[in-house]
Symmetry: C2
Subunit: 471 residues, 2 copies
């Protein structure tokens, strides 16, 4: 992090904590420069950032003042989904969302694409070029069934950071996390089975359940601490649930990191009821805290956690490289990979293996964590500024998704339709429920660089929401 | 085709037809040169080919003579599989086969890899390089759900050659033909359902059924004309069969092309019993005849044929680009793609679209047809030469697979194990049956260039078979 960013964060924190009150004058540039032993221009840059975030306002010849702002909106309460297994619906809306993704000129706040514009990604396509030129025979041939060993070795090393001790032989490469999870579900479940999951949950996961004929039971989930282990226990006593899908680290869409103790509780519950845990760690590496939070997989002693992951969010979706650490189900998942999906593209794997081995991956992820954390701050400010009072907003601990809850009567499905006319795409909350809940919520993809264009789009979003409020 | 190849084929045909008998003297080089209006050296090159194929032998100062050879072995008879639905077995043997594929130094007659060494493939990796350098943002981003439109447009054009009239909007790109078929099966069937298929059938297809919990009923199949429509009808009257999987063009492993009339009969039967046809056309473009044979899909009027295909055999497996034309099941297959496999790798698709658009694809496939036809001739000669009497051998009409049937008591599973000690990998026939039949058969991948090394490997194969015969 640069010095001025560090200073800006420090000041922003003090403002949030109320050390500087609304309307109060901030220390002069000179005073801050002396206090922190940094240059005048560093302080000026830090103040510029805070001004952009509209945390402070300059007054000519008097200095900087804490801006008059609405109070920090509260975090949404624990969710209260329908407490019985249901069939997932809403496919049409998701198809519309997917189609919007590739429309030219669209501002896509609704999808899940990461920021692909950073220079730290450059070594990746250099590696891709190198692979295409020097490994022709390998990239044209069939891949090994479990995927390229050199990549599995690198992934095993990465997984140590999350506390998981595995070798290349415990891992199976898949076509993204999506395919990892679908292989896991196909291995464990058959049509008609019931699987529990957090509520709200990523729409892709829920459509997967629908496609495979599996029923979903949505479990109350706290935007700060994750799935309610207590509610899950009640559900397990009532229904023949095969497993639970969780995104415990940098959850999509809520952004929480499950506290370690809750992870242990969840695992103990799974052991008591002999169910499996499908752990989706796709954004775990994008946690703002260091070291990154541990996976539930790292606590697993009897191989009941099937860890699914990919480089989709950390590197790039177009590579289609994910993996699964299927614990005691290794042989069955391997067969299912052969049966249902077949082998993978070797070129992406070879390029990624080199990207990690040469240290580019870690550099890139470090940078993206910072960028996303700053983006989330900026977008939160914008939402606070442009959206009406009475909203709740999550405080993500990682990744780049913001979840906004509006008053009960606001219909974000209508707002989304309205905004699409202006080429602004958002994901209404109902996509994240199997039973059509959360129509009054939305998820915003904050990987879109916080520039003027995107600020104006959030402003327009706010106007549409304000209009819907008044209806 | 070059002149000398044309001439060699003509002479080989005459020998096969008995116009030149065993031991008979062939026309002199000069006479042939005059008869066909070609140069002396063209005739010499043609004779050289026939000599390599051991169809003729030179005698110093007397010219060329038709070689003394065993009689052309007969074609295997119609298969007689178990006539009831069974669960597919033999996964362990297939895993061993897959693992062998990437072992260094192995001669892999058992797998399905095409010949990737031809110069007509060069433009493909040039296109790949170009895409990596000039379309960075596209190759890193999420693909469109149905796949890249520019590729679907090219595929729609290719499909016209097989008589199918479709547009880009009727097609869904998949990760190879394997994934196309698995999406089709997941869409139509649920665990416990029964699907009919040719016997023998490609082991990958059968393991897919096993993985998805679908029972297989193997239908008697003629190595010349394909699946017995009559036997299928009997099975349909007896069992609740959901659909039938067929590879009607350049069948794997038998190499037949179903006559057009049989294709129509099969479709009419499917209509009468209201079942779907899963048509695998993966080698249809590699038919030796011109124009290529039509697909059953091209005859379909009510959208019950789900055509699955890919560029795996015609271009390269490592690209992982296939497609499905799912007829009236388009919406459901699209949802299943989103549910079970997710999007595809954009880079392969962009490179392939350019490869086809610029005419490189057609040039490459034309060349490969010729090469494979010559390879099949050569390998057939070798098998005739090195294998014992009493065998049956298929006469493939396209692609590069040869199926050899040995006397009942020969156990090719044991022979395969024996040969693997010499780094020679073969696929025993039992892999191609759901019920363990065809242990006395083997499939040989004739895409391996017919050089001295491979001739010696076939010789060693023959020795191992001879030893097994005597046991």
């Amino acid at each position: 992090m640069t010095r001025y960013q560090h200073l800006a964060n420090l000041l922003a924190e003090r403002i949030e904590q109320g050390l500087y009150r609304s309307g109060e004058r901030l220390p002069s540039v000179r005073a801050l420069s002396q206090e922190h032993g940094v240059s005048i221009s560093t302080v000026q840059q830090a103040y510029q950032i805070l001004e952009n975030l509209q945390l402070i306002t300059p007054q000519p010849r008097s200095g900087y003042f804490v801006a008059h702002r609405k109070a920090q909106p509260p975090v949404p309460a624990m969710s209260r989904p329908v407490q019985r297994p249901v069939e997932v619906t809403h496919w049409d809306e998701i198809l519309t969302l997917m189609e919007g993704r590739t429309k030219t000129g669209i501002t896509a706040f609704g999808g899940g694409q990461p920021d692909l514009s950073q220079p730290t990604l450059k070594p990746l396509w250099k590696e891709l070029s190198r692979v295409v030129q020097h490994n022709v025979n390998e990239i044209l041939s069939y891949d090994e069934l479990p995927g390229r060993r050199e990549l599995r070795e690198q992934i095993a090393r990465l997984m140590l950071d999350a506390g998981s001790v595995v070798t290349a032989d415990d891992l199976i490469i898949t076509s993204g996390c999506h395919s990892a999870l679908s292989l896991a579900l196909l291995t464990i479940c058959k049509p008609g089975d019931i699987v529990a999951l957090e509520s709200p949950s990523f729409y892709g996961t829920m459509q997967m359940l629908r496609g495979l004929g599996i029923k979903a039971i949505e479990i109350p989930t706290d935007p700060g601490t994750g799935i309610s282990v207590e509610a899950l226990e009640l559900a397990l006593e009532q229904w023949p649930i095969k497993g639970v899908i969780v995104v415990p680290n940098c959850n999509n869409p809520l952004g929480f990191i499950m506290p370690e103790a809750r992870k242990r509780q969840l695992l103990a519950l799974a052991q008591r009821h002999d169910i499996v845990i499908f752990e989706d760690d796709i954004c775990g590496e994008l946690a703002y805290e260091y070291p990154r939070p541990s996976s539930i997989h790292s606590l697993d002693i009897d191989g009941r956690v099937l860890l699914c992951n990919s480089f989709t969010k950390t590197v790039a979706p177009g590579l289609r490289v994910g993996w699964i650490a299927p614990g005691r189900y290794y042989d069955r998942v391997m067969h299912m990979k052969y049966a249902a999906s077949g082998t993978n593209v070797p070129s992406s794997q070879l390029a990624l293996a080199a990207f990690i081995r040469e240290g580019y991956y870690h550099r890139h992820v470090r940078r993206m964590r910072q960028i996303y954390q700053q983006n989330i701050e900026t977008y939160t400010c914008w939402v606070r500024q442009f959206f009406p009072c009475g909203i709740c907003v999550t405080r993500p601990k990682g990744s780049y998704m913001l979840w906004v809850e509006l008053p009960e009567h606001v219909d974000m499905v209508c707002v989304a339709r309205e905004l699409s006319r202006f080429n602004i795409q958002i994901a209404a909350g109902s996509l994240f429920s199997a039973s059509g809940k959360y129509r009054n919520c939305l998820r915003i993809n904050c990987a879109l660089p916080p520039n003027e264009k995107h600020r104006m789009a959030v402003e327009q979003m706010g106007e549409a929401v304000n209009m819907a409020m008044e209806e």
